[in-house]
């Protein structure tokens, strides 16, 4: 998408993206792949709402409905929301801390390709005997009874993409600790960087629990183990614990970067320093910490007993305190600010009441005694869509508009952006607000149809109409993207005019080495400080010198592809197919040989010499 790429042939551009270790291009890959899976998950959501629009509908069968419902949740969480968050982390975090790249560029690329092949593997299930159908939580009591390979696709696909996510988390932790520019202390880091930091720590400590859970499930289903077979002494509750020890931090993995994106947007378009910066940092860290203490609130009705329920209920309610701190800080950031209502700012403003509504129902669910009434009803569906769509998805849409110029060098059309915003916001509330009441009126979740005359018809019809508003909003966004890229009107360093952090001090998109000279950071909002002193760029912290850059590599693709092949072998091995075991070995062989190649071949990267920067200005490559 950069001007540099346009000068090359199509094949060369593809090869460039397959081998890239540049965090900005990996960010674009994450945006494209995550965006694609977002469309797939969105289509699945529309199918769900069409099926439920009227009672006794037969648009899809009961079995297919279970598959669509499972894949909607799994796709949206693992293959859409997380990769899109990684897209913005890759696009913005190294720039925000004044780094030339991430700590492990090779692993960054490997993380993307593992996610990608894991996601493709999971979706292959649609064409190979049926998708997983045990819900995105895949409770063991259901998965042990699943007789197609759907659940095995879930296990192996998530295992592969989970490794990629874990690698990405470690990469960003190290990048933020080790690679900050001179003067960029922890308490000067932009809030998006802070929230990416805490999210990466959550990924590091939450994903291994899922890894173990998936291993146990795989051992039971594919290798004859008995973890969840009660007759052999097993216990299905173990899966629930392991899943939610991962699963609850997972929702904070999603929402914290969303908070970070909104913090950037509020400060930028209120043209004010973020109110209560240190309390924002404190609240982010505290939410991350408490996020690990509350997993069993998903299991109030399992029968853990009143003491366990009470402890987890109180811990859950405690999270409302740091979240409340954040909400008030955003309001006070806008207070007295010189507000500019751009598309990202509209999303940010709409996010506050939407997310607060989701938070309030969260507190209602946290009351363990009352939860027996809400559990497994549409009230819960309404709650988590209010926090995930009203929080995460609004942030991803806001971030798409906000960071588009930095990623692609063009500005999305504001009029179309605002149309998208209004359609999406109205559609969102239309779809999910009424579901609170459907739930309170007794409609259970995950039912493929319902009988008439229970008072649920109108509510479901309204909800389905709302879903199509969101669908149209996304189509307009896509039109906007195509139009903007075809027109290709280039923008400068700081297209919003009010950029505060380092990424807005360099060209859009930045050169592949990001900073010719590392910038000197003199406080929070470093670029704003320089602008207030009448300067147009950052003060350099070092003389012009040689820059060390990593080499591109195709090995991340082959390592990930090997696991993708091996997963098919593992999956069909259980059917006693002759070709399954060879396929497993060939796949693992591709992966291990690629890893060995990486080990024995020294990769020292290359240097851009300072003399080459003059050529760089003329458009050549260093």
């Amino acid at each position: 998408m950069s001007t540099y790429a346009h000068k090359k042939g199509f094949g060369a551009t593809i090869w460039d993206y397959l081998t890239t270790v540049d965090h900005k291009k990996i960010g674009i890959l994450y945006l494209m792949a995550g965006g694609f899976f977002f469309l797939v998950g969105g289509l699945e959501a529309l199918f769900i709402r069409v099926q439920l629009a009227v009672p006794n509908n037969d648009f899809v069968s009961a079995g297919l409905y279970n598959e669509i419902l499972t894949m909607h949740g799994t796709t949206m969480i693992f293959l859409a929301a997380m990769p899109l968050i990684f897209a913005f982390m890759n696009a913005a975090v190294p720039l925000q801390i004044g780094a030339r790249d991430v700590a492990f560029p090779f692993l960054n690329s490997l993380g993307f390709w593992l996610f990608f092949f894991g996601g493709v593997f999971l979706n292959c299930s649609w064409f190979l005997g049926g998708a997983p159908d045990a819900g995105w939580t895949s409770y063991a009591s259901l998965t042990m009874e699943a007789h197609t390979h759907g659940v095995d696709f879930y296990i192996l696909g998530l295992q592969i993409s989970g490794i990629g996510t874990l690698i990405g988390g470690i990469n960003f932790l190290v990048t933020i600790v080790n690679m900050r520019a001179p003067g960029m202390t922890y308490m000067r880091m932009p809030l998006f960087t802070w929230s990416s930091f805490v999210t990466s720590a959550l990924i590091l400590f939450a994903f291994p629990a899922l890894t173990v859970g998936l291993f146990l499930l795989m051992f039971d289903r594919l290798f004859g183990a008995n973890f969840f077979d009660v007759a052999a002494g097993g216990n299905t509750i173990i899966w629930e614990h392991l899943f939610w020890i991962f699963g609850h931090p997972e929702v904070y993995i999603l929402i914290l970067p969303a908070f970070g994106i909104f913090s950037e947007i509020f400060a930028t378009f209120s043209r004010k320093r973020l109110f209560g910066y240190s309390s924002m940092v404190f609240a982010t860290v505290l939410i991350g910490f408490l996020g690990f203490m509350v997993w069993a609130h998903h299991m109030f009705t399992v029968g853990m007993g009143p003491i366990a329920n009470a402890i987890f209920a109180v811990a859950t309610m405690a999270i409302a305190v740091p979240t409340g701190i954040k909400i008030f800080n955003w309001l006070f950031t806008m207070w007295g600010g010189n507000i500019k209502f751009t598309t990202p700012m509209l999303y940010a403003v709409a996010f506050i009441p939407s997310f607060v509504a989701g938070g309030v129902t969260g507190i209602m669910n946290a009351v363990a005694a009352a939860d027996y009434q809400y559990h497994d009803s549409y009230f819960v569906v309404a709650h988590f869509h209010y926090v995930i769509v009203g929080g995460v998805v609004l942030a991803l849409l806001a971030g798409t508009h906000y960071y588009w110029p930095k990623m692609f060098g063009t500005l999305l059309n504001e009029t179309l952006g605002k149309i998208t915003f209004w359609l999406f916001l109205i559609g969102f509330h239309l779809t999910f607000f009424i579901q609170h009441f459907l739930g309170l009126m007794g409609m259970p979740r995950r039912v493929f149809t319902y009988l008439p005359n229970q008072g649920w018809e109108t509510g479901n019809l309204i909800s389905s109409i709302g879903a199509f508003f969101m669908g149209i909003a996304v189509i307009i966004l896509l039109i906007n993207v195509v139009m903007t890229q075809v027109k290709n009107v280039r923008v400068g360093n700081d297209p919003w005019g009010d950029g505060r952090s380092l990424e807005w001090a360099i060209p859009s998109p930045p050169p592949f080495y990001n900073f010719k000279q590392l910038p000197l950071v003199r406080g929070l909002d470093p670029f704003w400080i320089e602008k207030m002193e009448g300067k147009t760029e950052m003060t350099p912290a070092e003389p012009l010198g040689d820059i060390h850059m990593p080499n591109p590599s195709f090995l991340p693709v082959t390592i990930s592809f090997g696991l993708f092949v091996a997963a098919f072998g593992a999956l069909y091995h259980v059917d006693g197919k002759d070709w399954a075991l060879p396929v497993l070995f060939v796949g693992m062989g591709i992966t291990l040989i690629s890893m060995l190649l990486r080990s024995v071949k020294d990769d020292h990267g290359f240097h851009i010499h300072k003399e080459d920067f003059e050529n760089e200005d003329k458009g050549g490559r260093a």
Partner: protein, 209 residues
């Protein structure tokens, strides 16, 4: 910042070669983070084992107190703890730029690790003949998963250290491979710490019933 390709002598070799370049610092810190994740991984396996300990379909299956023997696990523990000590000697010589001695101590580490693995394979084989199998009970599944994951880590560590030794046999130490040796030894220590917990939680607590 020192260059990775620079040739060193004993006099010019930095005192902490594992952290002398930015790449090395990143590797060092990233590996510690990775070990944090591994801690959660083993923590989950320990929790699963504790929940499923002695959970068998009927009374014909052996329980923990019928299976474990002190002699075997004590010998295995001593082998692995000693291998941790020898890997410390290897890193001592790495920091003193004495490549040959580092290689020698790493070889001893690998041999001790291989002996540990041999004992473990013997032990598993013995249990299977007593009717304690991966597929026979939830207890068996949990036991072989926890101890087997550890054994798998030992095997991977052996391959890792061996391939580092072979790969760098001819070129000696530089700032490109010193951090690689160092994080491999960190990994080896981590495996050892996990074994201390397995020895306590699985074997000692198993023997008292």
């Amino acid at each position: 910042m020192a260059s990775v390709q620079e040739k060193f002598t004993e006099m010019t070799w930095p005192s902490s070669p594992e952290k002398a370049t930015l790449e090395a610092k990143n590797k060092f810190l990233g590996f510690w983070f990775f070990l944090g994740g591994e801690t959660v991984l083993f923590g989950s396996l320990f929790a699963t084992y504790l929940a499923l300990k002695d959970k068998v379909p009927d009374s014909s299956h052996p329980l923990a107190k019928d299976l474990y023997s002190m002699d075997l696990t004590f010998a295995a523990t001593m082998l692995l703890l000693t291998s941790s000590l020898t890997s410390v000697y290897a890193m001592y010589h790495m920091k003193n730029f004495n490549f040959q001695r580092m290689q020698a101590w790493l070889l001893i580490t690998v041999l001790l690790g291989a002996a540990f693995l041999g004992l473990e394979i013997y032990e598993f084989n013995h249990y299977v003949h007593e009717g304690h199998k991966f597929t026979s009970s939830a207890f068996g599944s949990a036991f072989y998963s926890l101890v087997g994951f550890h054994g798998g880590h030992v095997a991977f560590g052996l391959l890792w250290i061996l391939s580092l030794m072979v790969r760098n046999a001819k070129r000696g130490l530089d700032l490109y491979n010193a951090p690689k040796f160092y994080v491999a030894s960190l990994y080896w220590h981590f495996i050892d710490v996990v074994w201390v917990f397995i020895f306590t939680v699985v074997y000692l607590m198993g023997m008292v019933g």
